[in-house]
Symmetry: C2
Subunit: 162 residues, 2 copies
């Protein structure tokens, strides 16, 4: 089952459906809208949270390992979360107790990101019959279709109210 | 070996030393300065990257699982990265190919975060004699000394130039 969502306008968050535990099954795939990583926002995010030369200073970045300015991995992760939030309509929101992130390729100014998220596992709660958990594998792609980031997380999800 | 750093001023990043692979050993601990999580910044970060009701709307948050407004885990992670950057003076910067994050407790407006980071493993490169990798376990504590987040990452580190 595949779901595709256009990018939501910046100011609002609309979800076309609500996904309860009963609705979730392994193999469901959700594809997000897109988000362009702007140079100014990359530099401002990094100045606040990850002020390393290759994230904030174009001249210094040229001589770095990356050969040019790249977004902080935390910026890519946060931008991916926004795309995921707009796309994956979990009934209780997306609340994870942890996440595993792999950064596979640098993200550069002007790159256009999109998230492809798959439910990989669905586990009923052993102690609480009203809920379960879903494991989500979320790939962030750039405009060339290259996977720049993968994150895997598990979220709690309620059963559909009767 | 323990190192303590005061919080750096917002506008500049000063490092008192540079840590090369030769200097790193398991058990080295670095403690950061502090960062206060302001209500307005929590809401603005979430509005941009994680616009779920319990991160952006105080009234809705009261009726949520969290019983009040909480910071996005991605905001806590990014703020922790900033504290880590100010604290851990790796010669090549902190560039990880991935990270594992556990969020253990909610972070609320006014909470004061501090990072305690330990080098847990030091591995010479098998193929490149000029470098190695270090595994870092970084705990983020609140003002009550409770661990709110743990992240574990591995970074590449150069040997001291001869």
């Amino acid at each position: 089952m595949e779901f595709h969502f256009p990018a939501a306008p910046e100011s609002c968050f609309l979800s076309a459906m609500t996904l309860y535990f009963d609705d979730a099954s392994p193999g469901m795939v959700f594809t997000s809208g897109t988000h362009r990583m702007e140079l100014a926002r990359i530099k401002a995010f990094a100045a606040e949270f990850d002020p390393q030369p290759f994230h904030v200073d174009e001249a210094a970045a040229k001589n770095s390992f990356f050969g040019g300015l790249v977004a902080s991995g935390w910026h890519t992760a946060a931008a991916s979360m926004r795309l995921l939030i707009e796309t994956l309509p979990l009934a209780d929101g997306i609340v994870g107790s942890g996440v595993e992130i792999a950064w596979l390729k640098p993200v550069r100014p002007g790159d256009i990101l999109q998230v492809r998220c798959e439910i990989t596992k669905v586990t009923p709660s052993a102690s609480r019959p009203d809920r379960g958990s879903v494991t989500i594998r979320s790939e962030t792609l750039n405009q060339h279709g290259e996977v720049v980031q993968i994150f895997t997380s598990t979220a709690v999800l309620s059963r559909r109210p009767v």
